[in-house]
Each structure stands twice: as structure tokens, then as C-alpha cells.
């Protein structure tokens, strides 16, 4: 697999396979199951070590978006990152995708494709051409790109809508086209930024089930950012909880329950409670 290492200004270059030091006391404190100790580093597709990211706002104040975040995701697993709004989740994904550089720490990640919060489908292209966009960019001719994307439309329940413009699709369909575009980038790491955040509750539940199915067929490493704890527990192999700004890892939970998972499952409910506690929301549990 292609590996690319990105260092911040203060970061030491970390060789792949080097043991990664714990990001902070808080990272291991609430860790469930000790998954971070298991598994050789060679199985980890994504390793973040002590990553910090700061911004300077208009009035010149420094804003700490992320502080000393250390995370790992094993190859072919889903790491759900959950946290309140403004905890630097999007920043985290943009760093993984190479759109931003960390100010400190190091990021080891394979080439990543981003599925942004807004679907960002191009309004002048059909659904099919939007999904096939990564292939076109990789140099495929229009017909070949379409031919490759077309069979996937049926799999995602989008058949018959190949030629529809994004404005003619429902929110759930748009998200599926955006997901297809992310898949067709062919990158080993998928960064999903609140993929269902803008959908209504019913569509969101359908889409969660659908995504967990889709990921069973398509084994990729996935970083799923969400503010929905339940979604994180339903879809993730691990759930990392980020605190309010500056985002720090306050819990790193392993989800052992087999898929597909149900909301009512005991393991799911327990993990959800632990994650909510790590978010400081235990009051909401009563």
C-alpha cells in the first residue's frame, strides 16, 4: 500500500511501524478493552501521534482546534470520531486528506478520499457523472468512467437516477451519490465527515443501515466523524470521543458487538452510555 507521511513543523518524522507513544493521559484513561495495545503497528493504516492544530482568528487570537490527539485505525476498520460541534473533527479529516498540516505531531495515513459534510455534488453534472468524477480526474474517458460507475448505481438503490441532476435527488440519494464518488476515488482510506448530519431522522437510520452494509462489501479503512454517539457505536469498530475545543481524546472505546448492530442491543446501549459519559453528558442518561 502506498503510505504517505505528513509532519507538522514541530513533528518528528515517525517511521511506519515505530511504536506510537500515548497521546496523553486522557487517551488511555477511558480506553475500553485496550485495543490500542493489541495488534502490530503494521496493521494500523492510520496513526496519529500527538497531533495539534491551531488557528488564528480575525482578532489575532490563537484558537486551539485540536490538542495532542493520538489515534490509530486498523486497516479495514471503521474508526468513529464523535464529539461536540466545533471540536475540530473536520480539521482532523482535512489533515488526513492532506488539505491542512498539523502544527505539531505526525500523521501517518494512506491516500484518503473525503466525503464532505455538504455533498458538494456538481450541479451541472448528472448523478452518474458526479459519481464517476474521480475516474475522470484519474484520466479515464467519459464513457469508460460511466461504465465503471453505472453498475454501482443499482447496488446503492439509485438505478433509474443515473441521468438526474443533483437538484432532482432527495437528500439521502445525494449522500449515496457522494459516497459512491468517495468509493470510486479508489483510495484506501475514506474520511466521512458527518455524512448523515443533514438528513431527517428516518432517512438517517436507513442510511446508517445502508452504510454498514456497504462497508461490509467494500473493505476500506474508514474514519467516520459524527456528532451522533449512537451512530458512532452502530457503525464504528472503535469510537474515539473528542472533547470540546480544544479537541482532545477523552475516550477510545472498542466496539466488539457483531454487525449488523441494533440500537436496542445491550452492548450498543452500554457503549453509548460510556461515550456519553466521556462527553460529559451523563445527565442526559437519566
Amino acid at each position: 500500500m502506498q503510505e504517505q507521511s505528513r509532519e507538522g513543523f514541530g513533528g518528528e518524522r515517525s517511521a511506519h511501524g515505530e511504536s506510537v507513544s500515548a497521546g496523553g493521559a486522557s487517551a488511555s484513561g477511558a480506553s475500553a478493552g485496550g485495543a490500542s495495545a493489541e495488534g502490530s503497528a503494521a496493521e494500523d493504516a492510520v496513526i496519529l501521534t500527538g497531533v495539534s492544530r491551531n488557528f488564528v482568528d480575525r482578532s489575532g487570537r490563537t484558537i486551539h482546534a485540536l490538542r495532542d490527539v493520538s489515534l490509530r485505525a486498523r486497516r479495514g476498520s471503521v474508526l468513529a470520531v464523535v464529539g461536540p460541534s466545533g471540536c475540530g473533527k473536520t480539521t482532523l479529516l482535512e489533515m488526513l486528506c492532506g488539505l491542512q498540516q498539523p502544527d505539531a505531531g505526525s500523521i501517518l495515513a494512506p491516500p484518503a478520499a473525503l466525503m464532505p459534510q455538504r455533498d458538494l455534488l456538481l450541479p451541472w453534472l448528472s448523478a452518474l457523472d458526479n459519481a464517476a468524477l474521480p475516474l475522470r480526474i484519474a484520466g479515464a474517458p467519459k464513457a469508460a468512467a460511466r461504465a465503471k460507475a453505472e453498475p454501482l448505481f443499482a447496488e446503492l438503490g439509485l438505478e433509474g437516477f443515473e441521468r438526474a441532476r443533483p437538484s432532482e435527488l432527495s437528500g439521502g440519494m445525494r449522500q449515496r451519490v457522494a459516497f459512491l464518488r468517495t468509493l470510486l476515488s479508489g483510495k484506501p482510506l475514506l474520511c466521512l465527515d458527518e455524512p448523515f448530519g443533514a438528513l431527517d431522522a428516518i432517512t438517517r437510520m436507513q442510511m446508517q443501515r445502508w452504510l454498514s452494509e456497504a462497508l461490509r462489501h467494500e473493505r476500506r479503512t474508514v474514519i467516520l466523524v459524527t456528532h451522533d454517539v449512537e451512530e458512532a457505536v452502530l457503525l464504528g469498530d472503535r469510537v474515539a470521543v473528542l472533547s470540546k475545543r480544544p479537541g482532545e481524546v477523552t475516550a477510545d472505546l472498542t466496539v466488539d458487538a457483531p454487525r449488523p448492530r441494533a440500537r436496542s442491543q445491550q452492548a450498543v446501549i452500554e457503549l453509548r452510555e460510556r461515550a456519553l459519559r466521556a462527553l460529559g453528558l451523563e445527565d442526559e442518561l437519566r
Binding site: 482535512e94 486528506c97 492532506g98 488539505l99 484518503a112 478520499a113 473525503l114 464532505p116 455538504r118 458538494l120 456538481l122 450541479p123 451541472w124 468524477l133 474521480p134 475522470r136 480526474i137 484519474a138 433509474g160 437516477f161 443515473e162 441521468r163 438526474a164 441532476r165 437538484s167 432532482e168 476515488s185
Partner: protein
């Protein structure tokens, strides 16, 4: 079709109202028809001069069509150059703005010296006047591409050219067409300026020259008749372009009832 008629009704009613008021004002107010001819006088003049008018309309139409094409191509190309290179932007933008203040009479003798007395110098004048709205709105359209979309393309390893081709250019298309629409309307007065400021040989030289010649001999009614033709040409061509726009950038507006 009946919807088209209904859409045109308010404009037709307003024109009739204005013409009626004008007619009454000239007829009852004792206005000298050399100063301001009544609509019926203009209609008579148009009827009498129909042959000349038609001939000159064709000349002006050709000038506008070719001049506008030149202007859209030049304005579009310039906008792309300005968008892609800040050096070109800094060098060319002030000159483009300045060009809009040129009194063309100062330029047309030189143009005639270079390009002769035919249609070419007029096309240059129309092009110089009309490229500006196209260039300005295209530059704005290109830089108004969604930054998040450009970011997404970067994660897909798109080259600069691909970002331009897949995002910036299509998202600028409605702006290009808006610029073209403004240019089209301006083109008719640009043709007038071109015709009246260019040295010309021969009796037929477009509606603009016909208007100036008529005014110089105090034949006001034929001048108004030619003006009315320009007026109608602007409206018709504007609507024709709107049709083209719907075809090219239909995605920019919702299409109710239309699916795949």
C-alpha cells in the same frame, strides 16, 4: 404559445399607452414634427423607407452578430487569462476599464487606415465596447466557484486544469451568459457608435448612419423609424439569447416537472 402571448401582454399594453400619450401630446400640443414626430408620422416614414430600412437593418444585424461574437470570445479569453494569472490581471484590468472611456471618434480614422472602410473597423469598435461586461462578469464567475468544491477536487488529486475544467468553468457559465446578455443589449448602441464614428463609403451603412444622415437633413421621422427598428432588434435578440441560456445552463435554475 398562449402563455407567451400572456407574458408579452403587459409590455404591449405599456407600449400602446406610451404611443397613445405621445400621439396626443404631438397632435394636440402643437409640437413641431421636425422636433418630435408623432407615432403615426414615424409609421408612415417607416412604410415609405421600408426598403432602405430593411437593407440597413441587415447591415447592422450583421455588425452586431459578428461584433458580439468577437466581444464574447475576447472577453471570455481575457477573463480566463486574468483569472489564471495575477500578473495579467494587474497588467490588463486597468487598461480594460480605461478602454470603456474611449471616445471612439479618436480611434476610427486609424482603424479605417489599417482595416479599410468596410465592416472590420466597426467590428473592432463594437468588440471594444462589448467585451467589457463579458470579461468582468466572467472573472467574477470564475472566482465565485465554491471553495469547498475546489477543496474536494484537491482531495481527488485534480490538477489545476482539471479544477478549472470541472468546477470553475462550469460554475462561471451563468455569469458568462449574464455578461453576454448585457453585451448584447449594449451592442446595438455600440453599432450606432461604430457606424456614426467610422468613415464610410457608399449610401448604405447601417441603421446608425441612416439615423445620423436623416437627422442632419432634419428628416426626423425616418430617423425615428430607424430608431424603432433598433429598439425592436434589442428586445428580440435579448429574448433569443435567454433561450440559449436556458439550454446551456439549465442546471442553474430549477426545472420543475422535468426528470432525467
Amino acid at each position: 404559445m398562449s402563455k407567451r402571448v400572456a407574458d408579452a401582454l403587459p409590455a404591449v399594453a405599456l407600449v400602446l399607452l406610451l404611443l397613445g400619450g405621445w400621439e396626443l401630446y404631438v397632435d394636440l400640443g402643437g409640437v413641431d414634427p421636425v422636433l418630435l414626430p408623432a407615432p403615426h408620422g414615424i409609421a408612415v416614414a417607416a412604410w415609405q423607407d421600408a426598403g432602405t430600412l430593411w437593407h440597413n437593418t441587415q447591415i447592422t444585424l450583421k455588425e452586431v452578430a459578428l461584433g458580439l461574437t468577437l466581444a464574447v470570445i475576447a472577453g471570455f479569453a481575457l477573463a480566463i487569462a486574468i483569472h489564471l494569472s495575477s500578473a495579467i490581471r494587474k497588467a490588463v484590468y486597468p487598461l480594460a476599464v480605461g478602454s470603456q472611456a474611449l471616445p471612439f471618434a479618436i480611434l476610427t480614422p486609424t482603424l479605417a487606415f489599417w482595416l479599410g472602410f468596410g465592416i472590420l473597423p466597426k467590428l473592432i469598435v463594437i468588440g471594444l465596447i462589448c467585451f467589457f461586461p463579458v470579461a468582468v462578469s466572467t472573472v467574477d464567475g470564475l472566482s465565485a466557484a465554491d471553495p469547498d468544491q475546489l477543496k474536494l477536487l484537491r482531495t481527488l488529486d485534480a490538477s489545476r486544469w482539471q479544477a478549472f475544467r470541472f468546477t470553475e468553468l462550469p460554475s462561471a457559465l451563468p455569469s458568462v451568459l449574464t455578461g453576454a446578455r448585457i453585451a448584447l443589449v449594449v451592442a446595438w448602441i455600440a453599432a450606432f457608435i461604430a457606424e456614426t464614428s467610422s468613415p464610410t463609403v457608399g449610401p448604405y451603412a447601417g441603421l446608425g448612419r441612416e439615423i445620423m444622415v436623416a437627422l442632419n437633413t432634419s428628416e426626423t421621422a425616418p430617423a425615428f423609424a430607424a430608431t424603432a427598428v433598433l429598439f425592436v432588434c434589442a428586445i428580440v435578440s435579448f429574448n433569443a439569447l435567454a433561450l440559449v441560456e436556458r439550454r446551456l445552463a439549465g442546471w442553474a435554475r430549477p426545472r420543475p416537472g422535468e426528470n432525467r
